[in-house]
Amino acid sequence: MVLQRILLVEDEADIQAVARVALEMVGGFEVQVCSSGQQALQEAEAFSPDLLVLDVMMPGMDGPDTLKALRERSTLAEVPAIFMTAKVQPAEVEYYRSLGALGVIAKPFDPMMLANQVRQLVEEGA
């Protein structure tokens, strides 16, 4: 599988910007950014991502809820997912994995390393 299109669900505009630069300019991916779970549900299928990167803490629908909802769409059911969060206690990591995520990227992330981290998790999950 070629990893090219990443759907980033993140409510914080500044982090959206940093992550977009990190993934697009450093990693060379194609990134679609959604600012909320609802927006992701509306736009995800059209974008047809190779990977979902979700923030955990979001107003309204949080990351895990958004992932569950997206998984209900047949076209998105198999797309790998990664959470970005400050909460990286082992138990929490286990919990995110149980939701079908490949892994967790700890916030604050290093933008220069972000693309590599993403690739590594996807390769490990493959």
Partner: protein
Amino acid sequence: MRLGLLYDGLYPSLAAHLLLAGLLLLVSWSTLNATLALIWLLLLLLVLVGRLFSGYWYRCVSSSVDFDVERSLRIFRVGAFLSGLTWGIGIWLLFPADELAIQVFFAFVVAGMCAGGMTSLAPDRISALLLITPALLPLISHFLLQADPMSLSMSGMILLFLLFLVATGGRLQKVLQHNDQLMRSISDSEAQFRALVDNIPGITYRCLADEHWTMIFMSDQVDPLSGYPASDFINNAVRSYASVIHPDDRAMTDRVVQAALKAGNDWQVEYRIVHHDGSFRWAMERGAAVRSLENEVICLDGFILDITEQKQGIKQIKNQLRAFATLHEIVSGSVKDLRQQLQQALRLGSDYLELDLGIVSCIKSTSYEVFACVAPKEMPIHPGQVFQMGQTYCDLTLRQGDLVAVDHVGQSAFSGHPCYKETSLEVYLGMPVEVAGQVFGTLSFTGRMPRDKAFSDGEKMFVRLLARWVGAVIAGDRADQALQLNTIRLRGLFELSPLGIALNDFETGRFLEVNETLVQAVGYSRAELLSLSHLGLTPGHYWKQESVQVKKLLDTDRFGPYEKEFVRKDGSSFPVLLNGMLVVDPDGRKLVWSIIEDMTDRKRIERMKDQFVSTVSHELRTPLTSIAGALGLLAGGVMEHFPEKTTQLIDIAHSNSKRLISLINDLLDMDKLLEGQMKFSIKTHPLFPLLKQSIHDNQLYADQYAVQLKLQTVADADLLVRVDEQRLQQIMANLLSNAAKFSPAGSEVTIDLQLLDASVKVRVIDQGPGIPEDFRSRIFEKFSQLDGSSDRLKGGTGLGLAITRELVEQMGGSIGFDTVTQGGTCFWFELQRVSRFIPGNRIKE
């Protein structure tokens, strides 16, 4: 005694012998041969003079100790025989032939002599026979030889006379012997009586019933009682017994005796005797009348005892009893005020001692302050008055350190005392007063008039005891005051305490004491609360925990800290933290003191803090993520290339934003660790792979300082430890980054392992400058960083090692550091090793 009688009769009988001989010669001179008559007279005189001497000799020896009775008797008997023989010779030589009248005269004289001799020699029959037999036999034989009927009858008659005398002499001797025995037994019983009388502890007497008590007999013991010998009183020889009876007691004594005589009873009476030396002595007399058959009083018999000592003893006992009664009255007084109490005691004391002035003083160095006093109106002494110590008699008492009693100061060694000159007080009785082992002052009684006798032991004892009581009362009063003050203070603390305080009965749980804070917190009134048990405030689901605390209380006398809830009157509940202890009151009742902290505020603050920390963690971290991310991208040269100066500034901003992130992370970690909220997922891990991982993870960081990390140990899959993997990596990251930071460029940081008995020691050794001496003790403390700009440049929050220590300790390990001698530092932590177990069998590690 009979011998005495014999010798007593010697001189008269010698005179009788001489008289008879003279008479005989005179009457018959005409018929006699003158020469023979004179020779016989000379012979008789010789015998009589001999016997005279024997009588004189007897006088001399009879009173000596070794007087020989038998010898004296023998001498007397020889004398009697010689007398009789002389008479016999005389009759034989001078008997006139044919002169019947003269013959008869001879017989008459000799018979008379014999009869007289018989009487005077009655005490000794043998002496009598020795006298009369030689005297009469020549006469009988003369008459017999004449052989005429007249002569024959004369001789027969004389013989008969002789026999009669002999028989009579025997009877007389018997009478005398009997008399002798009688006399001896009388003398014996008199001696016995004497001994008896002498041994009776008192005076026996017999006197006439007259106004002089004229003594017929009185035993010698009257001497010690009166100072006069008994002989003075017998027959009123020198003085009458009545004269030594105390004038005040005479009338009474007479009255008692007369009444007893009238009633026919015995009497018993006590009176004083005026002794020869002028003192009084007490006598007790028992007596009874001796009456004739006609019931007339002949004399009085009785018995007098010296009871002076008993009387004095009784007086002393009475005196002491009075002292005790007074002390009891003082001690049991109902007055509570100290000064009044002391004043009352002084009044009773001065009444008892019959002295004018009573003072309890308080003495400080040389000043004498009247603490309490009683004084007559004309003596202006009042409490609070201050004297110079040296001007009071009490300085004697303090110097003595004991009781000082002076009954007449003017005649004592203290007559020169300033107090005497000033006040002329004559009597002083003082005793130091001690309070709690320290001299407080004195108790003293003084009087103006000298006493007629010295203070008795009872009076001294009284003052000693009273002084002790005064000390105790003052000490008690001080203790009361201190206690009262203490109680007020404690009560204030108790009521004003921001913590609830309660005293409960251990058995029933009932509240016995509660403070205002608790009353306010639970919403009950104080009275309502005091009717409840602590279980009445406890929600049911705490009852199990409750029993755990009760057990703890019984085992250790303490309970808590115990977090529970109390139910208010309105049914709402609030969190409380309890701590308490078990006490036992003097009745043996178990009580529980509890400190009850209302945790409502603390819980709220905790929640606020949690929220705050959470806010910090998210609200600060989110923008920081953006800042650090953006700066990272710029510094990473993703966008475009900036001039060198710009790049430098971006790098500064980037590295500082990262530092800020790690600071926040450390703060959050520390907070969690200290609150015990850090969750550890402890699992058994092989140690070696974890260390290898840490080197891998941290080498990138170390590269910045051109430092090489090196694991200097061989792989050992059996070396297991129980740790939280992530936390162990955090520990390693902290230690390795620290080591790298302080290492010179190009050096190595070595990690090695030391296997100990039950643990393993992980060591991180650098080649840095080492830790300065003065910093070593603080190195694991929070926010401890080496001062100085050069170290600041190394970056770090100052929490790294503190967090590391917390992590190690919370995983059951220990941490420390050693300074390596050739420079550099070795940080180490020690973890328990775990054995790989198959049930019942241990595989080698």
